[in-house]
Symmetry: none
Subunit: 162 residues, 2 copies
DNA sequence: TGATGTTCCATTGACGCCCATATGGTCCCA
DNA sequence: TGGGACCATATGGGCGTCAATGGAACATCA
């Protein structure tokens, strides 16, 4: 099952609504989640979004910590408190909250970028820049003599900007 | 079961009343708890609140200490003794007690922060400050234990996929 | 009776839900 | 193979409902 793939750019209307790409909506339906779970990416000017698969990943991380501890509080604040669940209306649209728009610098257009089990929401220009930057990094990495394959990716991986 | 998710900021009126976010109220109804169970967070300038799920977690935590020990006493005092049960009025509002307002430094606005099985009540500015810190902590905590390299970025897919 | 706290009602603005239109693509048939 | 009917998605706007908020009426206690 492919989940979220490819990317799309749609426009916000006067009410701040924007259509979620139909293929993404279909994926969410398969996923069984009613709505759109999103939270600002900690290190990118973008918003991570998805459904049960994404939540399951988050919950899995949380399960490692006993509740009512400072660590658990921090993680649950970051993952639940800062996140939002957007409703998808009958026409497949969501309204992006102010905090989401602020975080991603969104004004009148947004780009949806599929990432398998989740997708990201970008301001189109920023995504273009991010993408170019990621490409540059990738080229640099590919040009350099092969480092150890195990490369913990993280920072260098395309997709982990800045 | 997602419980309390997302965050909301509401105003206190002249009488110290504040609306509990509708989605949180709905969660409390599902939880089956009539009212709002709260106690000052032991490690933060905030108030922990919730219903039966929260109480169950506290009990679970207490079960870790054998009764009649100093530790058990301390914890049960902190989590049960200091707690209050706020009444939710017909319009979904609660009156925050003076001790709660003092502990959290609340004056005319409060932010409700979902944390799954419970939520926290903050003074908005303090939460803003705390939020960045929690995010940093969460990233550190999440990066540490669950090995499998490719997660350093947090943003990079947690392996799962598709 | 005054002060304090609780229940009830009114306003307003945001949001969910519905319908209408535009646009592009696909399929079918002559 | 060209044209046209049909379909799906994106987008714009109207309207009713509900949540948040403010204030009044009412109960309770000192």
């Amino acid at each position: 099952m492919a989940g979220f793939v490819s990317h799309f750019t749609n426009r916000l209307d006067a009410k701040g609504r924007v259509s979620v790409p139909a293929t993404f909506r279909a994926a969410l339906v398969r996923d069984g989640f009613d709505g759109l779970y999103c939270f600002p990416s900690p290190h990118l000017e973008a918003v991570d979004a998805g459904g049960n698969d994404l939540i399951a990943e988050i919950q899995k991380r949380l399960d490692g910590y006993s509740t009512l501890t400072a660590d658990h509080d921090s993680v649950s604040t970051a993952l639940f408190g800062i996140s939002e669940i957007l409703k998808i209306d009958g026409d497949g649209r969501v309204v992006l909250s102010q905090s989401i728009r602020d975080h991603a610098g969104i004004s009148d257009q947004v780009t949806f970028v599929g990432q398998g089990f989740k997708f990201q929401i970008w301001e189109p220009e920023r995504f273009k820049a991010h993408r170019a930057d990621a490409m540059k990094r990738a080229l640099a990495v590919l040009a350099a003599p092969q480092a150890s394959a195990a490369q913990a990716g993280g920072d260098a991986a395309p997709g982990a900007g800045q």
